[in-house]
Amino acid sequence: MPIIARAGQSIGCFLYVLATQAAFAQHSMNPAGTDLSEPEFTVMGFGDISYISRDGSSQDGFAIGQAVAHLSASLGHSFGVFGEFSLTARDTEYVAEVERFIVKYAFSDLLKLSAGRYHTPIGYWNSTFHHGAWLQTTTSRPEMVRFGSQIVPIHFVGGLVEGNIPGETLGLAYMAGFGNGRHSNIARAGDAGDVNGDNAWMFQLHTSPARYRGLKAGIGYYKDVVSPTAEPEVDEKTASAYVAWAKEAPEIIIEYLHSTHELASDSSVSGDVDAWYAQFAWRLSGKYRQWKPYARYERNRIDDSDPLLGDLGLDYDGGILGVRWDFNPYAALKGEYRNEEFDNNGRENNFRLQVSFVLAKL
């Protein structure tokens, strides 16, 4: 879809949000009592501004991150709509995007059906933090799941079935999805249909044991046939595993992903992707409770023979050290040093200072 058309579509959605809010303002003038079958709306916003300094760069300076708007609407007890819309600064323009747009019907805790545009439920980070830098400890996502990543299909358009598996001890939950695979521009989802008629599917199983509140571990699998622009079709199979301890002292996230890409017409042409990161953080206690030092190491390796990603130069090694200061209940300042190597081209240092915030009220 042309960029202009996409932007127009997204701006239309922003206007829809504004119109909805106007409708809400009128609606809220009348006492609604306790009838929860009436529509109920929640709006949140996220934003961030960074200062970035790089080795030998002539473009050091401030960068406006994403401005993100969230709308969720509860339309009765079981049906809800969720939307996430972003404006991202580029060199010469702001790009509007519908990041997520989901309609969901919950039959029970065991069975929830939804359809729309998601962040693909591969691994932990991509389905936990989404947009909104305030929610994540670090200034940015790991490279393997950065927005626009080609290693992982960040977005997915289709349907999901999810739910909790009964039994409080293990806290098992599942998620299975079926829908459009990657677009021929492999960094994008197939927003207007599957480009080759061969749908993607995925499955994820995770556990959050009651005895160890804060612990979450999961495995997942994703399968698609990708048709890159002017390239032959490629079978893509991705397996992922993660373990996360979400309490803040400590916070530990380890995630691993392995993909196999194989030429659909010749299985002897294939290659593998191995990508992982480990993040560690510790919320200090007492009068220093607003401070949270953190570190992350990450590494992505792609076989040169990989028919989908082999010649894109996506190898990466990076280490970061930083500290987050929650100077306000709804805002944080993060200072971060990074030492990175892109595509084996030598290491570089950079420093980032970021203020991020959420517009929300509980």
Binding site: P39, S208, L362
Partner: protein, 171 residues
């Protein structure tokens, strides 16, 4: 910014909420939360039609964390939580959520952000408001001091124990 039609309950309840909120603020200046709560255990109360007599502490945590969002009869669970500054809230955050205010806020924002819940917990400002809303909303669950419970709502036992029993976990 969360805009909740539910909060428009009319002038009478608003006035009572403000008065009760002020009372809680004044009360909270005396002694610690634990001392205040020790005067009476925290009772878990539900709408009278809810077909649940007992919850394990783990089940209670799952409900308060919105990991469990439906009762066994598939009625949607509506969680009512006291506003900040109340001793009851501070006690529940510590004993059930095992979080402080900042973690609680971030937990719910993240939960809504992941589209796992359509809304956060509904905020109530007083025991009177809690009683009125638990009475009025099928599927609702909340908490209050045991000595303030009336027969308008039903108390559920936790790990098989009621607030007056020895070993009740929310004391």
């Amino acid at each position: 910014m969360r805009m909740n039609a539910f909060q428009s309950l009319g002038k009478r309840m608003a006035a009572r909420a403000i008065a009760s909120g002020l009372a809680v603020l004044l009360f909270s200046t005396h002694g610690s939360t634990q001392e205040a709560v020790n005067e009476s255990a925290i009772a878990i109360v539900v709408h009278k039609d809810t077909q649940v007599q007992n919850l394990s502490l783990n089940e209670l945590r799952s409900i308060f964390l919105a990991d469990q969002q439906f009762w066994p009869d598939r009625t949607r669970i509506i969680l009512l939580v006291r506003a900040p500054q109340s001793d009851e809230r501070t006690f529940v955050l510590s004993s059930i959520y095992q979080m402080d205010e900042a973690q609680f806020r971030q937990y719910w924002i993240a939960k809504m952000f992941r589209a796992e819940v359509p809304r956060g917990p509904k905020i109530v400002f007083s025991t009177d408001m809690t009683l009125e809303l638990v009475l009025a909303i099928p599927g609702s669950i909340s908490f209050m001091r045991a000595n303030e419970v009336t027969d308008q709502v039903r108390v559920v036992s936790v790990d098989g124990k009621l607030p007056n029993d020895a070993g009740y976990p929310l004391k």
